[in-house]
């Protein structure tokens, strides 16, 4: 393996590993793409670098100039990816972070020098988005990358993650990933369907709307602008909710198979298992699942070690996607 000039050069080109030993069907091969191998520890490193480089190209940011400030709402991973990129490139970062994320997410932001602006946990990511938009309007000199509306987000996956999946597994029949900002699903989904229109794209989401009780009415709801402008609804073939308990059960099952991955990976695996168990008579599938991050940031939740009922109940009040 080559020696790399910059830690940012380590972003992308992640490995895939076969976890068919835990597949519920012998006719479904399941592979997990390990995005936790990125230097900031998650798939969002790709998005962070892509958005910052696009802003530099557009002249919104000038490399080497001092005093430039970026602002971003994030439940954790995008903020952490941006904190890494900003630390290396010399930009100052402010992250609007809901209070109910794991302590490790806060610690990673702090260690790379990001300033944390808290948003109410009861409003979930919606609250972080709301406050960030207000701050961006009040401080037009700050660069607001806004992952939910930034086309450099899905572009990172269209140009990076998608081609890697196709390179390493051209026999893919189903692609499963968490919904989040929708960037992964739009970018990879579009690339794979261009290569093979028969590839099925499945989105998995936590029942966030159940736990976000800070919503006053449905007009406070939120759909990422990139999902609407880039035709996300037409790209998805299925969208399924996976609850905390099932997410943790699958996270543990993956640990039994030797993989130490985050709770959202457990949710995505549950989606893949559902896909595998619905295969028709004689039908075969090759399912590629994105593991957004590794398990390190969730050790404090007790996800692997404590009583599953206790952990599942606790997971209802934290953001793990």
């Amino acid at each position: 393996m080559a020696a790399f000039a910059s830690v940012l050069d380590l972003i992308g080109d992640t490995p895939m590993v076969d976890v068919s030993s835990v597949s519920p069907s012998p006719r479904a091969r399941i592979l997990v793409k390990l995005e936790g191998r990125n230097p900031g520890g998650s798939v969002k490193d790709r998005v962070a670098l892509s958005m910052v480089e696009a802003a530099e190209k557009d002249g919104l940011l000038t490399p080497g100039k001092s005093g430039q400030v970026l602002l971003e709402p994030s439940s954790g991973n995008t903020g952490i990816g941006l904190a890494l990129v900003c630390r290396v490139k010399g930009y100052k970062l402010k992250v609007v972070l809901p209070t109910n994320v794991s302590i490790e997410r806060r610690q990673l932001l702090e260690l790379w020098g990001a300033e944390i602006i808290e948003s109410p946990g009861s409003e979930g990511s919606n609250g972080a988005v709301r406050i960030a938009r207000e701050l961006a309007a009040a401080n037009p000199e700050w660069v607001f990358l806004y992952q939910y509306a930034n086309e450099a987000n899905p572009k990172a996956h269209y140009e990076g993650t998608g081609p890697e999946v196709w390179r390493d597994c051209p026999e893919v029949t189903h692609f499963v990933a968490g919904l989040g900002t929708t960037g992964t699903l739009i970018g990879v989904g579009r690339f794979l369907k261009e290569k093979n229109p028969d590839v099925q794209v499945w989105a998995v989401e936590p029942p966030a709307g159940e736990t976000v009780d800070g919503l006053r009415n449905l007009d406070d709801g939120y759909i990422p602008p990139i999902f609407e402008t880039l035709g996300g609804a037409a790209l998805l073939d299925r969208k399924t909710v996976v609850r905390p308990r099932e997410s943790i059960e699958w996270t543990r099952r993956l640990a039994d198979a030797g993989l130490f991955v985050g709770i959202s990976t457990g949710a995505a695996m549950a989606g893949a298992a559902k896909c595998a168990s619905e295969l028709g008579e004689g039908e075969e599938a090759v399912i590629v699942v994105v593991s957004a991050d590794d398990g390190w940031k969730y050790l404090s939740t007790g996800a692997w070690t404590e009583d599953i009922d206790v952990v599942a109940e606790r997971a209802k009040s934290i953001i793990y996607f």
Partner: protein, 91 residues
Amino acid sequence: MSVTVRLPTLLRPHAGGEAAVTVAGSTIGEVLNELVQRYPGVTAQVLNDDGTLHKFVNVYVNDDDVRYLSLLETPVKDGDEVSILPAVAGG
């Protein structure tokens, strides 16, 4: 045909505080129509004036989003669980 409809926190005040109600119907459209007839306060939160699904509401049958099944025509069977959830940001 009767199904359980799970309601999000913000709809419960319009449904007598219930977290889940039992509703009859053989499609999602029928289930939602029965729901809004019984609890008119829920209507504007779930359906548009033309009867289509509100943009910021997601409806699931056994955790599958009906927008990627057959929308309001999605069939339901006895014992199915229908969930109504607001669309919220993730990531």
